[in-house]
């Protein structure tokens, strides 16, 4: 319990200190933690950009999760965001949405050449004039003796009131070197191709890549990364972090 309080406190410090807008999501493994596992998670992002309208945009997510079966893990997220307007004036932190996330591991880890899972999320928006969002992902992972490579193939669609955008697509990739349980250096790549029907040109798509550090200290899994925007629509830089306590 003490650890849970510490994790939430760290998350709050991150939010109150220095970033919604371009939240790079985490790269999801298809491996589910197991039946009966309880989890508390805090994650966030902070964007740096020379455009006043994007600089200092920040998000913070708080979640509780539960392993319903050996193959199905469900989580509820509350998301808070704060960002600048067109003139760079920061808004107050606001509660933006509530997310129900589900991951399903298709078969046992190591059973086949590659591990695979499915992901389904419903995002209920609490912002004025914003649509809800339905997101699906195919989760793939290949474990080698010293490396783990994870890929997410993403499709999402605005739904319910205020829905305007058609189906959007994206990809996320993570590779890590399994140096020790505590420290695993690697990198991540996130791509948001925009609406599929529009065939958005590269300069309107969001592409981010950068170094990341992963590990586990006692029962806490951590991720820390810095993503460089490599397409004009992405923020110049983004710090992202994630802490998960399992018990």
């Amino acid at each position: 319990m003490k650890k849970a309080v510490v994790i939430i406190a760290i998350g709050l410090m991150g939010f109150l200190g220095p970033p919604k807008a371009q939240a790079a999501d985490k790269v999801y493994s298809p491996i589910v933690e197991g039946k009966g596992v309880k989890e508390i998670e805090v994650r966030g992002s902070y964007a740096f950009d020379n455009r006043a309208s994007q600089n200092n945009a920040r998000t913070q997510k708080y979640a509780v999760g539960y392993g319903v079966t050996d193959h199905w893990f469900t989580e509820m997220y509350g998301e808070f965001a704060q960002g600048p307007d067109e003139n760079g004036v920061m808004s107050k932190p606001k509660f933006t949405d509530l997310d129900w996330e589900n991951r399903y591991q298709l078969f046992e880890q190591g059973q086949y050449w590659i591990d695979a899972g499915l992901y389904l999320e419903y995002q209920k928006s609490f912002e004025h004039d914003h649509a809800d969002n339905l997101e699906g992902k195919v989760l793939l992972e290949k474990s080698l003796p010293h490396f783990t490579h994870t890929a997410n193939l993403i499709v999402e669609k605005e739904v319910m009131a205020h829905a305007k955008k058609e189906t959007e697509a994206g990809v996320a990739w993570s590779s890590r070197y399994r140096l020790s349980p505590y420290v695993q250096p690697g990198f991540e790549y996130h791509a948001d191709f925009g609406e599929v029907r529009l065939h958005e040109p590269y300069n309107k798509q969001k592409h981010q890549v950068g170094p990341a550090l992963y590990g586990k200290v006692r029962k806490v899994h951590y991720e820390l990364g810095y993503l460089f925007g490599i397409s004009p629509a992405s923020p110049d830089g983004m710090l992202k972090w994630n802490l998960e306590l399992e018990f």
Binding site: I31, G34, Q109, A191, F193
Partner: protein, 115 residues
């Protein structure tokens, strides 16, 4: 360009999901059972063949949950109380690979010996 990339990834993903199970080896896989009793693994040492994928059945006979964890084997899975899970290991080279129960580290220790 973006559309081609999207279609490539979607087709690759669907292809893998459909074909990996189909292409998996149908040969019988060696199977071993490791029980968890009073926060100990039983047996604490399991000998498996080198360069062969094996199936471990982790049978938690305790009421409390345990986590089967091995960094060397890249496995981490919780076994609920009075519950069984399946863990696939290998193929790995000859050697000793430690594993432990993360919820009761003091007592739950074991080794997979690969020969």
């Amino acid at each position: 360009m973006g559309n081609i990339v999207i279609r490539f990834w979607i087709l690759l993903g669907l292809g893998i999901l459909v074909w990996v199970p189909v292409l998996a080896l149908a040969a019988a896989m060696p199977e071993y059972t490791i029980a968890i009793k009073e926060h100990h693994f039983d047996p604490s040492e399991t000998i498996i063949p080198a360069n062969t994928k094996v199936k471990l059945v982790i049978d938690n006979q305790d009421a409390a949950a345990e986590e089967f964890e091995s960094f060397e084997l890249n496995r981490e899975k919780v076994v609920a109380g009075k519950h069984k899970i399946i863990v696939f290991v290998g193929p790995v080279k000859a050697g000793s690979y430690k594993y432990f129960g993360d919820f009761h580290k003091d007592t739950a220790q074991g080794t997979i010996v690969v020969k």
